[in-house]
């Protein structure tokens, strides 16, 4: 029983990471109509930006988070302006190819700048709390923080989307691009904000992964598949669905280790995704198809 509870905690931690990535993927899809294949490498680059920041100023691990989010938001907007914007008027699938190429560019940049070895934010092992009232469940402080901060970020995104003019405009554009233009909603500004949020959340996912495990140039690419699975499960183009999708995929992946070798964790995400594509391609909640 404690085992299952323990895996549930790990699953929720992983789910938090996936949710951060999936919200961005979902939003970018909603506004720009393409699956952003560089999102995993956004996570990687964000994590490394955080690493450079804390080592430059000698700060503790968690300072990597704000630095990475700000840095990656800027990088995302930059990439959009330099590359994606130029090919936006052609078919969305060209953007898909470009983002795939961008994934490799970012990854090789990370390898060039930071090298290919594993790195960590902080050395040493963190001792978990033992929660006797929960059957001796072990909970690392870092894990608790990852879950709480994700919750906070999700709530902020929610408030932004429902309470601010720009957030509502973003939902409007995702709903009906033509009508948004006709209403005078400035598309380019909304697109820019989409990249700011997408980039910042991807960076958060990257830092969470880095704090939970380690930093590696492939860390984002190998997480991309579960992130997409989460976005599809939630209904691609639906940021709220992405939260549910992220948690379901994260928990399923961790729970699966009870039954199958841990190396096949990504296969679980993939299997859920394929099942979803067959049975209900519009997502659990109806997505933009």
């Amino acid at each position: 029983m404690t085992d299952i509870l323990q895996l549930l905690v790990y699953g929720l931690v992983l789910g938090s990471v996936l949710t951060m990535g999936a919200i961005g993927v979902s939003m970018i899809f909603g506004i720009l109509r393409f699956a952003h294949f560089a999102h995993g490498d956004f996570m990687t680059l964000g994590a490394y930006l955080g690493l450079s920041f804390i080592s430059a100023f000698g700060l503790s691990s968690w300072w990597a988070l704000p630095a990475a989010m700000v840095g990656m938001a800027a990088v995302a907007v930059f990439i959009d302006q330099v590359l994606y914007r130029r090919i936006r008027r052609t078919q969305p699938v060209i953007l898909l190819i470009a983002s795939f190429g961008m994934a490799l560019i970012l990854r090789s940049l990370v390898q060039l700048i930071w090298g290919s070895d594993n790195q960590t934010y902080a050395s040493g092992i963190q001792f978990p709390w033992r929660l006797d009232w929960l059957g001796g469940l072990r909970l690392k402080p870092d894990h608790l923080w990852i879950m709480l901060i994700s919750l906070g970020l999700v709530a902020s995104v929610h408030l932004f989307l429902t309470r601010t003019r720009l957030g509502k405009a973003m939902r409007a554009m995702s709903d009906n691009m033509d009508l948004a233009l006709v209403s005078g909603i400035p598309a380019e500004r909304v697109i820019m904000v989409t990249w700011v949020i997408g980039g910042a959340l991807a960076a958060a996912a990257g830092v969470f992964l880095g704090i939970d495990t380690r930093l590696h140039p492939m860390m984002g690419w190998t997480t991309l598949l579960p992130v997409f699975a989460a976005a599809i499960l939630g209904g691609i183009g639906r940021p709220y669905g992405a939260i549910a999708g992220g948690m379901i995929i994260g928990v399923s992946m961790e729970m699966s280790t009870l039954l199958i070798p841990a190396a096949y964790k990504p296969a679980v995400a993939f299997a859920i995704m394929v099942g979803m594509l067959i049975l209900r391609p519009q997502g659990i909640f109806k997505g933009t198809v």
């Binding site: 003019r165 939902r171 409007a172 709903d175 009508l179 006709v182 209403s183 005078g184």
Partner: protein, 235 residues
């Protein structure tokens, strides 16, 4: 004194052959102007061209005497021109109120006065302000769409087939609302399939065929014109 809107000799289309073949349109401040014509005559195309949604290759559009040819929709809205497309004219996942807010995205300051004005015209929208627009009936959605356009306090309201797919009762009501809107001093330019009814409330009408003007006259005169009657009004 220049007209509210004047389009002269428009040529253009969706990138291929020109659909508009020298279309002319004019709307005065106090008018309801109706464009009728057979399917494929370029009625909706003409509206979109005027609003800057497709490229005008030749000809010009004047708004209060100022050239706005091929201006972006955003600039049209800033000048006080609002446009309601025929289909997909609401944001389905947004609430009624949010739909209206999006109409006034470019307007600065407090929106409550603008909202009140729309709610007065369409009391039903006030009742349903928290409902998702996508879950509403066709008639209600049309109200949301018109309400959204009115949020900028437009000088010119452009409607593309506002009664398409509505029941006869709702069609009557829609035309009543359009008359009320016009009575507030807003010029209306609309494309309509229900030619007979539309022309009966129109100040003037245009009959388009294959992208160019076939007839232009006051509403009653067009209704009385036997050629027009035979062509489009089903005798």
């Amino acid at each position: 004194m220049s007209s509210l809107l004047e389009a002269k000799g428009l040529y253009g289309g969706y990138g291929g052959a020109d659909i508009l073949q020298g279309t002319n349109l004019r709307v005065e401040t106090d008018e309801i102007v109706v464009i009728v014509g057979p399917n494929g005559a370029g009625k909706s195309t003409a509206m979109k061209a005027v609003f800057g949604l497709l490229r005008i290759r030749e000809g010009e559009v004047l708004y209060r005497g100022e050239a706005i040819t091929n201006a972006k929709p955003e600039q049209m809205v800033r000048r006080g021109i609002a446009y309601v497309p025929q289909e997909k004219n609401v944001f389905p996942s947004l609430t009624v109120r949010e739909n209206l807010e999006m109409g006034a995205y470019l307007m600065k300051g407090d929106l409550s006065k603008r909202l009140d004005k729309v709610y007065t015209l369409f009391p039903k929208l006030a009742e349903r302000r928290r409902q998702q627009a996508g879950l509403m009936s066709g008639g209600e959605r049309q109200m949301v769409a018109m309400g959204r356009a009115l949020m900028i306090d437009p000088q010119l309201l452009m409607l593309d087939e506002p009664t398409a797919g509505l029941s006869p009762l709702l069609i009557d009501e829609t035309f009543e609302r359009i008359k009320e809107i016009n009575a507030q001093g807003i010029g209306v330019l609309m494309v309509e399939q229900n030619a007979k009814q539309a022309l009966s409330i129109a100040s003037r009408g245009y009959v388009l065929a294959t992208g160019s003007n076939r007839h232009e006259d006051t509403g009653p005169n067009l209704l009385a014109n036997p050629e027009v009657a035979e062509m489009f009004l089903g005798g």
